[in-house]
Amino acid sequence: MVDRPLISVVDDDESVRESLPDLLKEFGFSAQAFSSAEEFLASDYVGKTSCLILDVAMPGFTGPDLQRELRVRQQKIPIVFITAHRDANTRHRLIENGAVDCLFKPFSDCDLLTALNTALRVI
């Protein structure tokens, strides 16, 4: 079980933090949920994370802020953004800045799996 890729989820919405890790485990990944970017950065999982599922709009430290911070720290973790705001411009900008994908909530399990597979191939 140790060799399962770790997918970290950062979202301020509790229902996402509850539901997503279970789905990810069903996909066969390890999963770890964090309620904020700060919590994630402070954890021991940054270096171990193979892919980050990151909410765009969070109070305080936002998803794009964390993306920037990781780039500064030379942490090349593939990021799949998720957002409840259906905004094509934001999606386009995030992907331009290096994100693997940006999924609009609610997204289907297939879309998520496709994105994660893409992300893990990136490494």
């Binding site: 919405d13 229902s15 789905l23 409840a84 609610p106 289907s108 399990d109």
Partner: protein, 769 residues
């Protein structure tokens, strides 16, 4: 002895004779006989008397008789006729020869020819007479001073008259001294002394006499010294020429010259007479000064003059010279550049004379420095230009009007432009009236009438109907003043405020559009927020459901996990329901503002708002708005939201249409049962009979990106206005969506609605009335 005497007498070189004591001539010598041509026997006795001039004979005989009687020698002068008949003067002397007792024994005599002396005497007499005549009758006053006697010895009538003195009075130097103008007495006397002592031979002085009546007499006096044979001063002749009149004339001329000089300097206008071709500087120093030249430095040539004139002004000078060739009059203003670089304006006015070849020969006239006038003119011109420019820029004209006198209006160029009235005929209120919009004539007439009668300031705004049927709005502000004669005069500014009025109308429109847009935008933001709120639980639901499915599909199925995910799914579904409930509450609280409104106007605003978007989408929009649409009451923005929604739906429905024009028609019309209907018709994809029922349900959409809320919300808005929203498929391609709402009730429409006051011609006139 007798023969001896005869012998002696005969030998005399002069004529001689002898006579007996009783006077009987007994001998005449040869010279006598030769002169007279008489023979002795004929001339002796009394015969000699024939040789004597008859006029002289009586006196001669008388003297001869007296000699005989007295025995004394006698002399007499008489003319003797020569042998050729000519008379000559002789001095005749008779001398007695006496004996020892003293008795006369004989007479002898000699005749000397004194003709030459006599002639000299005669000539002298004539000369003396001439001198006397000249002296006495001369027009100039003459005094002769005898230096031996030390007094004037003679003076003539002219001098007596000149100085108003008698001959006697003028025979004393004291008189002359008294008459001499007192301040000059000493110096005049000193000059005269120099003459008297012989230091100088001539003296000329202007003497100023004050005569007895107190008036001044001026004389130009020429003193001439006459010396005697030893060159000693003997006489002084003083000739007095009366120059009093000339002196007065001179003084007068001097005064006139000074006056002219003063006038020229005061006017800075110098008279000149310039003989152009003679190359002689006939310019006065003042004339040269006008050109900035030092006195006497102008060489008088045409070429030099040309060099003095500012080159840019030379053509004007040449033109005026050409003109002068026709008329002789020259009048030109030009600049000259002084050596110090300063520029001066000169005006030359005068007469020009030309030679046969048409070259300037002589110019007579005045030159004046008009720099200050020119500067003022220039300043005035610049200000006028500035004013005109400012008037043009601000579309403001100005005029002055004297209603009580000429009634004529003096107005600026900009006003001509604004009113487009011919400049050649005088502007009167009547002419302006022809431009006034018929609906504003009453207002115009009343304003003019009040201005005339009250003489008060006035301000008004009215419209002009231009020849090309365009309408202009003008704003007039007039101030009443009194002119120099105390007559009423209005000075006014007229501004073309058409642009402002139109932009105000546009601004009103833009403002309402802005309100609208901001409300639409807040609706957009609200929509996004709703989406976010709903998407969060939806996301959880889907994830949980997906996980549950996978858990149950697993081998062996993870039932506990599936139960947990299902529980979460239910919980998230409740959360979503809660969001909807909150939104309901939010919508429910929304207040609607009700106003009386013109649906046409509201529609036009929507059209204006969507024009760009529709153009981008290639949609051709045609409004068919009813002219007689009753007003409705309602929420303007909400109704516009509905119209906008229908228009956007229609445009979206035609987004894939390429085989026909994307035509969109918005129509307003009266509907049945006192209602107003608005319909939006497109030629798009049309309506599927299946979907027709679901159209107005929330979240139903046929669009890829649609939310399915538009028609649902629209219907609720229309229903809140007690109206209905319907959709129908067209006979041809596309669909028509329409709503109808009741028209406003009678009593409501009677109340004027300030918000409905767009700038219509009618309301405009009312506002100014």
């Amino acid at each position: 002895m007798e023969s001896e005497l005869r012998y002696v007498v005969d030998a005399l070189p002069e004529m001689g004779w002898t006579a007996l004591p009783d006077g009987h001539i007994d001998f005449l010598n040869r010279r006598w006989l030769e002169y007279t041509g008489l023979r002795l026997e004929y001339a002796s006795g009394q015969g000699w008397q024939r040789a004597i001039h008859p006029e002289d004979l009586p006196q001669l005989l008388q003297v001869w008789q007296s000699a005989i009687e007295s025995g004394e020698p006698r002399e007499a002068e008489a003319r003797l006729r020569r042998h050729d008949g000519k008379f000559r003067w002789f001095l005749l002397r008779a001398s007695p020869i006496t004996d020892a007792s003293g008795s006369v024994v004989r007479w002898w005599g000699m005749n000397w020819d004194i003709e030459d002396r006599k002639r000299a005497e005669r000539l002298l007499g004539e000369s003396e007479q001439l001198f006397k005549a000249l002296f006495d009758e001369a027009g100039t006053g003459i005094t002769l001073v005898d230096l031996c006697r030390g007094e004037p010895i003679r003076n003539n009538r002219a001098l007596q008259m000149m100085l108003g003195c008698s001959e006697e009075e003028l025979s004393h130097f004291a008189t002359f001294d008294q008459l001499t103008y007192e301040p000059n007495r000493e110096s005049d006397a000193e000059l005269f002394r120099q003459l008297c002592v012989g230091t100088r031979d001539n003296l000329r002085m202007e003497k100023h006499f004050i005569v007895k009546d107190g008036s001044s007499v001026w004389a130009n006096v020429i003193f001439t010294l006459v010396r005697d044979a030893e060159k000693r001063p003997r006489y002084v002749i003083a000739i007095h020429q009366d120059i009093t009149d000339r002196k007065h004339a001179l003084e007068k001329l001097q005064a006139q010259t000074e006056l002219l000089d003063l006038a020229q300097k005061a006017a800075r206008a110098m008279a000149f007479d310039w003989h152009i071709q003679e190359k002689i500087n006939t310019w006065s120093p003042e004339q040269e000064e006008l050109y900035g030249l030092a006195p006497g430095t102008f060489d008088g040539t045409y070429e030099s003059w040309k060099k003095l004139v500012y080159p840019n002004d030379w053509p004007a000078v040449v033109n005026s010279l050409k003109h002068a060739q026709q008329t002789g009059d020259i009048s030109v203003e030009f600049r000259v550049v002084w050596p110090d670089g300063s520029v001066h304006w000169l005006a030359a006015n005068g007469q020009m004379f030309f030679d046969d070849e048409g070259k300037p020969l002589r110019m007579v006239g005045f030159t004046a420095d008009v720099t200050s006038r020119k500067l003022v003119e220039e300043e005035l011109r610049r200000k006028a230009a500035l004013l005109a420019q400012a008037q043009h820029v601000t579309s403001t004209g100005s005029f002055s009007w004297r209603p009580t006198t000429t009634n004529e209006i003096t107005w600026s160029a900009e006003l001509h432009r604004i009113f487009d009235l011919d400049r050649s005929t005088p502007i009167t209120p009547e002419r302006i009236r022809t431009r006034v919009h018929p609906d504003d004539l009453k207002l115009f007439d009343r304003t003019i009438e009040q201005a005339r009668s009250t003489g008060n300031d006035f301000e008004c705004e009215y419209r002009l109907l231009m020849p090309d049927d365009s309408i202009k709005y003008v704003h007039v502000v007039a101030q009443a003043t009194r002119d120099q004669d105390g007559q009423l005069e209005f000075v006014a500014a007229v501004q073309d405020v058409t642009e402002r009025r139109l932009s105000e109308a546009a601004l009103d429109k833009a403002r309402s559009e802005l309100t609208h847009v901001s409300r639409v935008m807040s609706l957009g933001a609200l929509t996004a927020s709703i989406a976010h709120e709903v998407n969060q639980p939806l996301s959880g639901i889907i994830t949980n459901a997906s996980t549950g499915m996978r858990m149950l599909d697993a081998d062996p199925p993870n039932v506990d996990g599936a139960r947990e995910t299902t529980r979460r799914t239910i919980r998230d579904a409740h959360r979503a329901a809660d969001v909807i409930t909150r939104l309901r509450a939010l919508f429910g609280k929304k207040e609607t503002t009700t106003e009386l409104l013109d649906l046409n106007e509201a529609t036009r605003e929507v059209i204006a708002l969507s024009t760009n978007e529709l153009q981008r989408s290639g949609v051709i929009l045609r409004p068919e708005l009813s002219d007689s649409l009753p007003l409705v009451t309602g929420d303007r923005v909400q109704l516009q939201q509905v119209i906008l929604n229908l228009v956007r739906n229609a445009a979206d429905a035609m987004s894939h249409v390429t085989e026909r024009p994307r035509r969109l028609v918005i129509r307003t019309e009266r509907a049945e049962a006192d209602a107003v209907r608005l319909s939006v018709r497109d030629v798009g994809v049309g309506l599927d009979p299946e979907t027709l029922d679901k159209l107005f349900q929330p979240f139903f959409t046929t669009k890829e990106n649609g939310m399915g809320m538009g028609l649902s919300v629209s219907r609720s808005i229309i229903e809140r206005h007690n109206g209905s929203l319907r959709a129908a498929a067209n006979d041809g391609p596309g669909a028509t969506f329409s709503f109808s709402i009741p028209q406003a009730s009678e009593d409501v429409t009677k109340t004027p609605n300030p918000n409905a006051g767009n700038l219509t011609d009618k309301s405009y006139a009312e506002r100014n009335a």
